[in-house]
Symmetry: none
């Protein structure tokens, strides 16, 4: 029941009304063993509760029931794009996130500096989360790697992202992006070779393996970051921008380059990475006149969930709640608060559980929900739906969709 | 999750059991600002409430969440046909609705008599809703238009529909139907030229423009109807009839030709347009023995919604409720009451909000719903589904579907 984008494009029209979509990363939770309440249910959230009571709520399956989504499909769906049909690799997202001007044909990979022991086995997949400046210095070293003896004319770009993360971009003729990760995802194992999944990507796999070999040599004395892992090999996808399919003039506000990169893939204008939740809300207020759709991404809920820190996740939710009035002062026509996926603190990882959705506008049908929580959203007027179905709802409530058919 | 028609066709079988599907056009509403209750919730509906209590309820998305549907896709979905895949143009619907024998290759358009001022700008898109008899006289005048000098052998049919509405049918070799509307949808603007969207429709656009030019000349002295607007250029779609895919012998009862025309597209037998709700119920009773599926279309709920007349919509709902016992006396095996879309009186227009569905039969699982309303249907046993999913449910409850698979 996903309405096709080529049909949305026909009925969508530009208008002055404003949409704010707040994505609290990993918001969905699971009950605390003592209280039986999730993080969101535990948090004191008078502002979100009032919005839920006056609006319409529901539960979203980020991709499909039972599927635990990564950040990329989880967000693509919220942006209105089919998360299964539209594959955007992690490498592309990292590269775009640091403002690297990716060209069609480039293959990008997300890199991690990591630590290996003298047997070549991974002792730390993140090299102790080395600081960004250190990572930048190491990237500089790796930038000297020359692969033009393998494929003539190859250019290699190694760019720091944040802490242990970097982006590798390979530029040469005839590079496919169907190459498996070298990250075995577990410590105690050896990094894997880059293996092409199809013959069109043999050349890329060859370049990647030579890069890793050269990097290992250069880094051998750079404890703890004495090795690299590569994953998410990918080239630029072909996705119509939000300006075309939804007739929006969209902007993205986030603290991490990855989310800004992803927003760029669908044509959003992005603001420089913010350094706090408060700053993100300030950017929204300052730029409110210039755009008609805002993606406001809040990461700390997910980080607390990943760390298994129930109380910290509760505190982050309460902090966000306390800032909601700053959005209401702007008087957007539509305000949605939701998540890209669940990251229950008890589960310490992304999970498949549906995420709560709150939609506030003048045209909401009442549904008896009195607070913003997983349990109450279950009874919400929007029922259960897939995240990809949210964007048409936001556009409809903002008066940006004409009638379909005669 | 739409079960494919070619599979339905395999498991559907004819049987004497009877299905009545009552469509209260635009039934879905939004809360009144004073009471917080929708039109349906405000109306006193003891008969519908009793049916809801004994049956199973749910909420339907006519096309998809957030999509405001026109009448055509909204009804096609209720008839069991994918409303996005099956495009039926307005012209076809109007022509069939007045019993015009459309032939494959014909292109039909919905016409409006309209008023333009001396600058050629639209002053009234409906020419003051001139009476049908006046429209018939003008259609007679326009029937003299001869376009055979443009495309040899062209036949032009101009047929009155109701008030300012007429149908134009062009019959000639090689006519495509990909032609844009000449109706700019707004007063103060000039009518648009008919423009072909692809080269296969150039000939149709040429004929349409010549027709409009000739019509303008003929009508110049016929104030207020001194011009015409054309929209919904379309040819007969290729849809398997309900007799084939659902093994039904279906009949349609409605007051407006448009809905009867649409019913014909899917192969229903249609009764002459009724002049009141009561007459529609009488036609149903009189013809009950001859058919096994009845589409009973009730328009006044939508008209009241479009007019923003909350109280009138409530009254219409109450009138329908009072007539429900006449259906129950017939003892159909399945009675469904629903809508093609919402037309909330507060919104004064079709909207995207899901519509209530009530299904009554001997085989309903109870769901705790005690009244027919949007809020109660939200808790109904059928949950949220797409309108296109309803027909298999009706067939199943009527014992007209065999087991799928071994």
């Amino acid at each position: 029941m996903m309405f096709p984008l080529d049909q949305i494009e026909i009925i969508a029209h530009s208008s002055p009304s404003k949409i704010v979509q707040v994505v609290m990363d990993g918001l969905g939770g699971l009950p605390h063993s003592q209280t039986g309440m999730t993080e969101l249910e535990t948090a004191h959230t008078p502002n979100l509760d009032a919005l839920a009571a006056g609006g319409t709520c529901g539960l979203l399956h980020p991709v499909a029931p039972g599927i635990t989504t990564g950040s990329v499909p989880g967000h693509l769906a919220l942006f209105g794009y089919d998360p299964v049909q539209n594959h955007v690799g992690r490498g592309v997202v990292e590269a775009l996130g640091i403002d690297f001007a990716l060209q069609p044909g480039d293959v990008a990979a997300r890199g991690n500096f990591c630590s290996i022991d003298d047997k070549g086995l991974l002792s730390d997949r993140r090299a102790g989360r080395i600081p960004t400046e250190e990572s930048a210095r190491l990237c500089q070293l790796l930038s000297s790697i020359d692969l033009s003896d393998i494929v003539p004319g190859t250019q290699v770009f190694v760019k720091p992202v944040r802490e242990h993360r970097f982006a590798l971009i390979l530029r040469a003729e005839g590079l496919g992006d169907d190459v498996a990760d070298t990250d075995p995802q577990k410590e105690g194992l050896a990094p894997l070779p880059a293996v092409a999944g199809s013959s069109g990507s043999d050349r890329t796999a060859g370049l990647a393996n030579s890069f890793v070999e050269a990097a290992h040599e250069i880094l051998s004395s750079q404890i703890p970051a004495n090795m690299v892992l590569l994953r998410g090999f990918s080239g630029l996808p072909h996705m119509p921008p939000m300006s075309q399919v939804f007739r929006l003039n969209p902007a993205a506000i986030a603290a991490l380059p990855m989310y800004l990169g992803l927003a760029k893939v669908v044509g959003m204008t992005v603001f420089p990475a913010a350094s706090s939740i408060e700053e993100e809300f300030r950017i929204l207020a300052d730029s409110f006149a210039q755009y008609d759709y805002f993606f406001l991404h809040l990461k700390p809920t997910d980080l607390a969930g990943e760390d298994g820190d129930f109380d910290r996740k509760v505190k982050v939710i309460e902090e966000v709640d306390s800032l909601i009035p700053h959005i209401l002062e702007l008087n957007p026509h539509v305000l949605a608060v939701t998540a890209d996926h669940s990251t229950p603190a008890t589960y310490k990882s992304h999970s498949w559980h549906p995420v709560p959705l709150l939609l506030s506008s003048s045209w909401c049908r009442r549904d008896g929900v009195s607070a913003f929580s997983e349990t109450q959203c279950l009874k919400g007027g929007l029922g259960h739906m897939a995240s990809v179905q949210v964007m048409p709802l936001l556009l409809a409530h903002a008066g940006k969709l004409s009638k379909f058919g005669a």
